[in-house]
Symmetry: C2
Subunit: 204 residues, 2 copies
DNA sequence: CGTTGGACCGACTGCCTGGTCGGTTTCTCC
DNA sequence: GGAGAAACCGACCAGGCAGTCGGTCCAACG
């Protein structure tokens, strides 16, 4: 396993830099040479580790993008007691990260879905699968929230999940070229508003 | 003016085809030759009418994209009495169009904002300006709705507008690779839910 | 009928791209 | 310390790109 160590390290460095540049400039608009130059490596090194640019990207999606989405948006919500509150806090934190990131180019997943849509079915599938994991998890959490009395029983969990994901995709696109701070505040405020309509009526 | 007629016709054809391909494949992923080939025209014709690919695209944004957004999303809402209802109907119709379009690649505006973000400031500005027109119009309509008693007076119109735009951007991204019919239904259902939280409480 | 100019043609240039491949360095293990 | 494999180098190729430019076609006009 020791002999693999160097290889693993290089591959990991390539993936990191690759994701960074693909995210910043888009996949089709980033050349393999761009990545190599920024790493001080050569063509040979790249094609020694990866068979093609496309395969390289798929690796990045599975390794890095999925993990990112999971740790930022899925894990912090998973199985929490009060789902609406957990989701709100989670999304607010995600937006906070985006807000303070001067190099923000939108939600990675949404950006790539957009770019590959209609151009590469296979990659699109990998990306939408990540979405689906997120969605399934939201639905499960919401359903649990119903039995625990945190969510109105008549609400359509699938629809709520869709609506949450939609709004997050959208706000992240808006944030890249607007006042991040204000947008985040407005978004969370209205999300809370929306969530109120999903909560059981409290009889004071 | 008669001598301009032919020129105008050609330019218009170029813009139509240009938008179609840029929308389908992205700006950077569509070559000028692609457009020309699909029109049966030559390089000479293109550079006779437009100084550059970029300038060409800016023309398309101002001529076609703006009109499209205006006629589909702004005009049908503008100055309506019951704003929440008008917005709901308008977005539903917009999604219906998207649903029945087999060649749907998402919301034009959001796609382009995504693609040019961080790569071309000037174009990004043209695109976000269109967003702003939409937003301003939503806010105005909502404010009017307050005085007319259709919208709760304490709601933050700017925030609501932001939230509406976000969710629409997002659902259009999701629709390109999901069950359009279901997504549309879910979206409108939750939008209505959300809007309920903005309406004045009806004392039955 | 000759000339003029707007609309268009298409070969060409210089540059960049993904990918190949013969060769070199570095590591590992005997 | 030497052999063999793993990791990496960089010149090279074919194809695609935006943009150029000398030339052609043809309607309108005098």
């Amino acid at each position: 396993m020791d002999k693999n160590l160097k290889s693993m390290t290089t591959m990991h460095r390539m993936q990191q830099t690759g994701l960074e540049l693909f995210y910043k400039q888009g996949f089709y608009n980033t050349s393999v040479d761009d990545i190599l130059k920024s790493l001080g490596l050569s063509k040979g090194a790249f094609y020694y580790h990866y068979p093609s640019k496309e395969e390289f990207f798929i690796n990045i999606v599975q390794q890095l993008v999925f993990r990112k989405v999971y740790s930022m948006l899925i894990e912090p919500v998973e199985g929490r007691n009060n789902p609406l509150h957990a989701i709100e806090v989670c999304l607010d934190e995600a937006l906070e990260t985006a807000e303070h990131n001067t190099m923000d180019y939108g939600f990675v997943l949404a950006n790539f879905i957009n770019e590959f849509n209609g151009r590469n079915e296979q990659i699109t599938k990998y990306l939408t699968d990540i979405c689906k994991v997120w969605e399934v998890n939201l639905v499960a959490t919401l359903q649990k929230g119903k039995t625990d009395g945190f969510v109105e029983r008549h609400v359509d969990s699938e629809a709520v999940a869709t609506y949450i994901i939609s709004s997050y995709f959208g706000i992240r696109t808006l944030m890249v070229s607007g006042n991040k701070k204000v947008l985040r505040y407005q978004y969370i405020q209205q999300l809370r508003n929306y969530f109120r309509s999903l909560s059981p009526v409290v009889i004071a």
